[in-house]
Amino acid sequence: MPNPLITNVNVSTGEVEVREMTDAEVAQREKDYEASLASVAPEVEA
């Protein structure tokens, strides 16, 4: 099964790149999500 597509829009130039996500990019988004599931204690000013 192919990886999902990724769209990169350069706002300054208007150039648009559409390509398949790399395995590393797919792994990164899953890693980001897993990391975000973990609760992070808010910082409290001393």
Binding site: V9, E25, R29, E43
Partner: protein
């Protein structure tokens, strides 16, 4: 032929014959006329704004007007990136229309590609007649909606990022998502979020899902003067 210092308008040389003065005056004023053509026009209440980075390239616009600076289909993609966002505007507004996802996961937004920092958010939700509040701290992303959307529910999300081009302060990011739902009739989430550890000017915005794809939707980025 002599020219003016700043605009390069052609003027007669000191040694030119006076008999050619009429033509010289006409040439000089035609240069001014051409250079300042963008200043002509406009209507009551409009303000002058730069149309591009080119010298003397102006346009008349309503105060606080929106300029579409990028647009992208989200159909079938796992991630959409708006990169190299110019700092030419006061605020940014991102409008996402008719988005939904293949899996029941959050539509996530990341700023400046920073997914190792800390995003904080408070989301108020209404689902039918049920009210809720979700406070979260996320290392990787802002939640664009308080619930998931896995079918075309005529959703609309509007995200406002004020003072995005200034470095050195935390950026308040405010969004609202509305959608119909299967049961009950509708869902809405209204949220405010920020990245507490990143004070850089915002130059990129990423929308993505953690698994599967964004099945439908269009994202349009506006610059606000």
């Amino acid at each position: 032929m002599a020219t003016t210092t700043n605009f390069g308008w052609t003027t007669p040389d000191d040694t030119d014959a006076v008999i050619n003065g009429a033509a010289a005056i006409r040439t000089a004023l035609n240069g001014v006329d051409t250079s300042l053509v963008d200043l002509k026009g406009g209507t009551t209440g409009q303000v002058l704004a730069k149309a591009s980075n080119t010298d003397l390239d102006f346009t008349w616009a309503a105060p606080g007007s929106y300029t579409q600076i990028a647009s992208s289909s989200m159909v079938g993609v796992g991630q959409v990136n708006f990169n190299s966002i110019p700092g030419d505007y006061r605020n940014l507004v991102l409008v996402i229309r008719d988005w939904y996802t293949s899996a029941a996961v959050t539509l996530a937004m990341t700023i400046n590609g920073v997914s190792t920092s800390t995003y904080c958010g408070k989301t108020d939700t209404i689902t039918g007649t049920t009210f809720g509040t979700d406070n979260y701290v996320s290392t990787a992303f802002i939640r664009v909606h308080g619930s998931t959307i896995t079918a075309d529910r005529n959703s609309q999300t509007i995200i406002e990022i004020d003072d995005y081009a200034t470095a050195g302060n935390i950026k308040r990011i405010k969004g609202t998502t509305v959608a119909t739902t299967a049961v009950p009739d509708f869902a809405m989430s209204d949220w405010t979020a920020f990245n507490r550890a990143n004070t850089a000017a915002i130059t990129s915005i990423t929308l993505q899902v953690s698994t599967g794809t964004i099945v439908g939707g269009t994202a349009v980025l506006y610059g606000v003067r």
